[in-house]
Every structure is written in structure tokens, then in C-alpha cells.
């Protein structure tokens, strides 16, 4: 049987260049960081929570933020999201120093944070939740059709097929679906940076896997994704970089391809591992 070389095969003859694939995965580093925090200090009264913390997040990459309870992960995320203002240090966005006075400032730059509690309204449907506080109107009335279409388009762009109607109430959704809605809400606004605080904490395996794949797709679409997680398998499964906090200091930010599970655990529990980490 004489068959063609398969779908991957090319017919000879040069007249037309093969169709260019749509742009996808932004090339992994060395890309300028989108988010670049240097020497961040933060105290609450007499308690210093962050000491001279450096942290970067690059477009097209998932940067995992790991550390024990109380290491300062949440405080750092709140500094990124404009909830807290650092006492000292520099916050650069696309290389330009910025000062964020509030979460609204962060949102203005395209930085969205998905908190652990998700902050979804159970009595509202998916579309209403995605546009909550930022509803679209045409004149006086809400433009329901446009919002519904954009919500559906965003979910489709994230390859979410498990949601059913976008008019379902959040109270009828499973944990994984709720997480998906919260993430979709964060990317609806042409966001550049999405920070996810323990997105898989309360989910079963199948839903965790779907959320991880969604996290990976966000980065492959060119966003800078920051993922906080305690689960080392999740961290290794999707991250490009791992930033390990230890007692309020950044022990190290390393490429995932270069480290082992054991090294990361050592960075988390003792702040150093061999040549990596904080000096004694």
C-alpha cells in the first residue's frame, strides 16, 4: 500500500510556506522578568515577616513559591497584590519601578491574585461572579449578552470543557469547578500575572490534575504564573522555577530543571542545601 507520509509529512515542492502555527508557549527564559521584587522588607509592628526578599516571575513560566507555614508566603503574595506595601525594597513591573497603593493598582497593571478562599458568591452564577464589581453595561442596563459571551470565550480559551452552562450557580459547582471559575475570572481582564494561593488544597486527585493542567496552560499562553503549593509533586509537575522562603528570607530561587526534590525540601526546612541557599 502506498500511503502518504502521515499527517506530519510534507509534500515536496516549495511554493507555499507551511502555515505558521499560532503563537503559543513564549520561549522559556532568558526573558526579562515581568515581576521583579528586590530587597523587600515587611514588618507588622515589632515582628519582621520579610527580610530582604528577592523574587522574580517571568512571562510564560510558572514560578512556584514554597516554604513552611509562617515562612512569609502569604505576606509576599499580599505585597505582590498591593494589599500590603513593603517597608523597604524595590517593586519593578516590566523593568519599571512601581508603587502599589491598593489591589486596584495591581489589577490596573494586570496582576490578579486568586486567594485560597476564592471569594466567589454562591448565590450568583458563573458569569455574574466573573464580572463581579466590574460589570459591563451598555448605557444604563447591564450588557448580559456580551458578558456571557466573553465568559464562555475565556473558559473555552482555557480548554475548560467540564463546566456546562455559564449560567449555573456557583453553589451547584464542585470544588474543582469553583477553582476554575476563580482562575478564569483572574485571566478575564487581559491579566499579565496570575498568583494562585494553594489552588489544589481542598481538591481530590482528578480535580487537582485538571487545575494543574490549567495552571500550566496559563503560562504556556504567555502569562507569568505564581503558584503557592505545599505539594512537591504539584510543584515539580508544572513549575519552571522554584522560589523557597525560609523564615522570611528567600533561601533560593532556582530553575526546576536543575534541582531535586531533596534539595527543595532542604531549602524549605533549613534554608540551604549544599551550595544553594542562605549562607550560615
Amino acid at each position: 500500500m502506498n500511503r502518504p507520509a502521515g499527517p506530519g509529512g510534507r509534500v515536496c515542492g516549495p511554493p507555499v510556506p507551511a502555515p505558521a502555527h499560532p503563537p503559543r508557549a513564549a520561549n522559556v527564559s532568558p526573558v526579562t522578568p515581568l515581576l521583579d521584587l528586590r530587597g523587600i522588607d515587611k514588618s507588622f509592628g515589632p515582628v519582621q515577616v520579610l527580610h530582604d526578599v528577592d523574587f522574580t516571575a517571568r512571562p510564560g513560566e510558572v514560578t512556584a513559591l514554597v516554604g513552611d507555614n509562617g515562612a512569609g508566603k502569604t505576606t509576599l503574595v499580599k505585597c505582590i497584590g498591593g494589599v500590603h506595601q513593603p517597608d523597604a525594597g524595590e517593586y519593578r513591573f516590566e523593568g519599571t519601578p512601581v508603587r502599589l497603593g491598593s489591589p486596584r493598582d495591581a489589577a490596573g497593571l494586570g496582576i490578579e491574585v486568586v486567594h485560597q478562599d476564592l471569594a466567589l458568591c454562591e448565590n450568583l452564577d458563573i458569569v455574574e461572579n466573573m464580572f463581579l464589581g466590574r460589570e459591563r453595561s451598555n448605557g444604563l442596563a447591564l450588557d448580559e449578552a456580551a458578558m456571557e459571551e466573553q465568559a464562555a470565550r475565556t473558559l473555552a480559551a482555557l480548554s475548560v470543557r467540564t463546566m456546562g452552562s455559564v449560567r449555573r450557580r456557583v453553589s451547584d459547582l464542585s470544588g474543582g469547578q469553583r477553582q476554575t471559575v476563580a482562575i478564569a475570572r483572574a485571566v478575564l481582564w487581559d491579566s499579565r500575572v496570575v498568583v494562585l494561593d494553594e489552588p489544589a488544597a481542598a481538591l481530590g486527585v482528578a480535580q487537582t490534575q485538571q487545575v494543574l493542567e490549567l495552571v500550566r496552560r496559563l503560562a504556556d499562553k504567555g502569562l507569568a504564573v505564581v503558584l503557592i503549593s505545599h505539594n512537591m509533586n504539584d510543584v515539580f509537575a508544572v513549575s519552571d522555577q522554584i522560589a523557597a522562603l525560609y523564615l522570611g528570607r528567600m533561601a533560593a530561587q532556582v530553575r526546576t530543571a536543575d534541582v531535586t526534590h531533596r534539595q527543595v525540601v532542604e531549602l524549605i526546612t533549613s534554608g540551604r542545601s549544599g551550595d544553594l541557599g542562605l549562607r550560615a
Partner: protein
């Protein structure tokens, strides 16, 4: 020296390129096509009218007016319901048949469980042909089947589609494609290819690997299959047997493999081994995808035996991936089938071994991903393979099939 391509060859090539674009990337306006394919608009118009006349595409006004001023550009859509292929997937414990329309839409499908072990060729061909005929009957009157392909978990000779060996199915020297094509009587041959090879094509064309021309796909079913794409083409080797990653020896003197060797990747990370490590093997215990997923689930809930099993399997998977990364320098490694679950459940281990076992230069940029097409990956691959002929020479192939098929079908 060979002269340049003739007018006819150029036209055929352009028709194929345009059809392939709307098949893989979905409906596109004439303006987009002109821009992407680098052809002027009058050429695009001539090509689309040829394809429209052949019944392969249709043109419609866009649903919403575009942002640009002026007359909206017509949108070229693949004729999904009228031009289709049959895709067959023979897995160790299930069979699937689908009717897939141009553009990649699964129009209809049949799936059945199958007892493991004994494989009666007659029964198998009967079951597949029966399901396929039911699907064909439900197709519209004017629909035409333009190809058929079957994904098989074994080693297949490229020259004549002969199945040479199936480590988990006893089938040596079987011409499944010919037998099936005779029973179907649709006037199209049924190509037979290795399932993981087709999975690699599917992920490359429609899944995680779009835009990545050097990728390796690893497929977990009972065993482990592989497909290697180098420079955008599937690596088949001399006779098409290439890419048997599952039979790469990672642990000399390890567990015995059905292929006769010891310590093959598939014996160290396959379903049987995972279940044995997890103390879930033995007669009467559940097997298959769900059993593997149950181990990953138990590990996530903290079951130490299951965690240890995944840890051990993840180590060998890491060694396998490290070897592949060193040899092929892929841009991406995709884990599909049950290996998706195993990778996500043991990623820390897999990547730790990779970090220490692979050379720094090729390791640096390799992206590890899970299959985007989920459990349908091999079926989608078979469909894509079946479309290859019509995409290479759209008008001729359709002209040949329209005539006799019309009568043979009804």
C-alpha cells in the same frame, strides 16, 4: 537535475495546504488565509472555489461583523459532516471506533470493553466492522468516507501494515487492516499504525505539542508505548518499528518483560508493576486505567504503600526520560494515557532523576507536559492519519471516492 514543480503540482500543494489549515486550525476568513499562507486573495479565491466544488469546504459570511471597515471577508469552513474518516482504537482492554469529520470533530463514536488476553481475529474484526457500519449508517446521504486508520498497541511494519508483535496481545503476523477493509467495503484501505506513534501525531497536530517540532510522546496503557517526532516528522526507522521507548532497557536484570528481555521501561513503570508495588495485584483484583488511577488517588490521600509504589515507578520513568532527553534533545516530552496520572503523581521523583541523570544543556529547555487530548489521544491520532491522503491531494481523492462510494455505501 529535476525541473521545478509544475503548475499542476503547485496547485495541488496549495489546495492541500489550505485545506490542512482549516482542518487543523478551524474556520478562517479569506483574509486570514491570504495572510497566513502568503498567497494573494485571488489565488485564495480560486483555491476555495475548487475546494467548495469538491464539497470539502463551504464559505459563509462571518457571524459578527469584523472590526475592519469594508465588506467582511468570507469565512472558509471545513465540511465536517459531509467529509469524514473512520478511526479505530484497539487497546488491550477496550475497543473504540469513531466517525471523525473534516476539521477534527468527533461526529459519533462507539466504545466497548474487551476481556484481556485471548484475541480472536475474527471476533475483533467483526466487532470493529459492526461498530463502524453502525456509524456509517448514521452519516448523511451525501457524506463520504475519505479514509480509515487503526491504532494498535504493537509493532507494525510500515510497508504492508502487518502487525509483527503485540507484547500484551497475541497477534504475530496479522493483517488486520486488510481484513477490516474487506469487511467494511467502503472503497478505502484501513491503515494500521502503532498507537503511541499516532498519539504523538495527535499531540503534535492538535494537543500540547502544537508548534513544537521535536517532541516525544509517552503513552501508558498496560505497557508503555512511544512516538518520537523529529523536525516535524514521526521517526519510524528502517521499517517503521522505531520509537519503541517502552522496550528501552533501563534496569538490566530487572523484571522480565513480555518481549523476552528484562528491565524494559514498560516492565518498570507499566500497570502490572505499579499494581504489584502497591500490593494491589493478584487474581480478581481490578486492572486497567481505573486501577492505576486508584493508586494515584490513594497516594494523594497519604497511603504510604501507594506513595512508595509511585516513587519507585517515578524513578524509572525519570531514568527513561533522562535517556530520551540526552539522545533526542526534544523540546517537549508529553505523558499520555495512564502515564499522565503517573507523571502528575510522581513528578517530584521524575524531575529529580532527570535533574541528576540528564545532561544540563538538553535538560534546560525541555518542557514536560501532559496530553491535552486525554483518553482520546490515540483515536484522534488515527483520525489525523486517515485524513493524510485527502489533505495531500484533496480534489483528486474526492473525485475518486465520490463515484464508487456512493453506490457501495447504500
Amino acid at each position: 537535475m529535476k525541473a521545478g514543480p509544475s503548475q499542476e503540482e503547485i496547485r495541488r500543494h496549495n489546495l492541500g495546504t489550505l485545506l490542512r489549515f482549516v482542518h487543523l486550525r478551524g474556520p478562517a476568513s479569506r483574509a486570514t488565509l491570504a495572510e497566513t499562507l502568503g498567497l494573494n486573495r485571488s489565488t485564495i479565491m480560486a483555491l476555495t472555489s475548487d475546494l467548495t466544488a469538491a464539497g470539502l469546504v463551504r464559505e459563509e459570511l462571518p457571524r459578527r461583523p469584523g472590526r475592519r471597515a469594508g465588506r467582511p471577508s468570507l469565512v472558509v469552513q471545513p465540511e465536517s459532516t459531509r467529509v469524514y474518516v473512520l478511526a479505530f482504537d484497539v487497546a488491550v482492554d477496550r475497543l473504540a471506533v469513531a466517525r471523525v469529520g473534516l476539521g477534527g470533530t468527533v461526529l459519533d463514536r462507539r466504545e466497548t470493553e474487551r476481556p484481556r488476553g485471548e484475541l480472536d481475529t475474527g471476533d475483533l474484526v467483526g466487532a470493529l466492522a459492526g461498530a463502524a457500519r453502525a456509524l456509517v449508517r448514521k452519516a448523511g446521504r451525501d457524506a463520504v468516507c475519505v479514509g480509515a486508520a487503526l491504532a494498535f498497541p504493537g509493532i507494525v511494519r510500515r510497508a504492508d501494515d502487518m502487525i509483527m508483535f503485540g507484547p500484551n496481545l497475541d497477534v504475530d503476523g496479522l493483517s488486520l487492516g486488510d481484513a477490516l477493509a474487506r469487511r467494511l467495503g467502503l472503497g478505502v484501505p484501513v491503515a494500521v499504525r502503532n498507537d503511541a506513534n499516532l498519539g504523538a501525531l495527535a499531540e503534535h497536530e492538535r494537543g500540547a505539542g502544537v508548534g513544537c517540532d521535536d517532541l516525544i510522546y509517552l503513552h501508558g496503557d498496560v505497557g508503555v508505548g512511544g512516538g518520537i517526532i523529529v523536525g516535524g516528522r514521526l521517526l519510524g526507522g528502517q521499517e517503521g518499528y522505531g520509537g519503541e521507548i517502552g522496550h528501552m532497557v533501563v534496569n538490566p536484570g530487572g523484571r522480565p518483560c513480555a518481549c523476552g528481555s528484562r528491565g524494559c521501561l514498560e516492565t518498570e513503570v507499566g500497570e502490572r508493576t505499579l499494581l504489584a508495588h502497591a500490593e494491589r495485584d493478584g487474581p480478581g483484583r481490578p486492572v486497567g486505567r481505573d486501577a492505576v488511577r486508584a493508586v494515584v488517588d490513594a497516594a494523594d490521600r497519604g497511603d504510604i504503600v501507594a506513595r512508595d509504589a509511585l516513587h519507585r515507578v517515578g524513578t524509572w520513568l525519570g531514568f527513561g526520560v533522562a535517556n530520551l532527553v540526552n539522545i533526542f534533545n526534544p523540546g517537549m516530552v508529553v505523558f499520555g494515557g495512564t502515564l499522565r496520572d503517573i507523571y502528575l503523581g510522581s513528578a517530584a521523583q521524575v524531575r529529580s532523576v532527570l535533574a541528576t541523570g540528564a545532561l544540563a544543556a538538553p535538560r534546560e529547555r525541555v518542557r514536560l507536559r501532559t496530553a491535552e487530548l486525554g483518553d482520546d489521544v490515540t483515536l484522534v491520532g488515527a483520525a489525523e492519519y486517515a485524513f493524510a491522503e485527502v489533505l495531500a491531494d484533496p480534489v483528486q481523492v474526492l473525485a475518486r471516492l465520490r463515484g464508487p462510494a456512493e453506490t457501495a455505501l447504500r
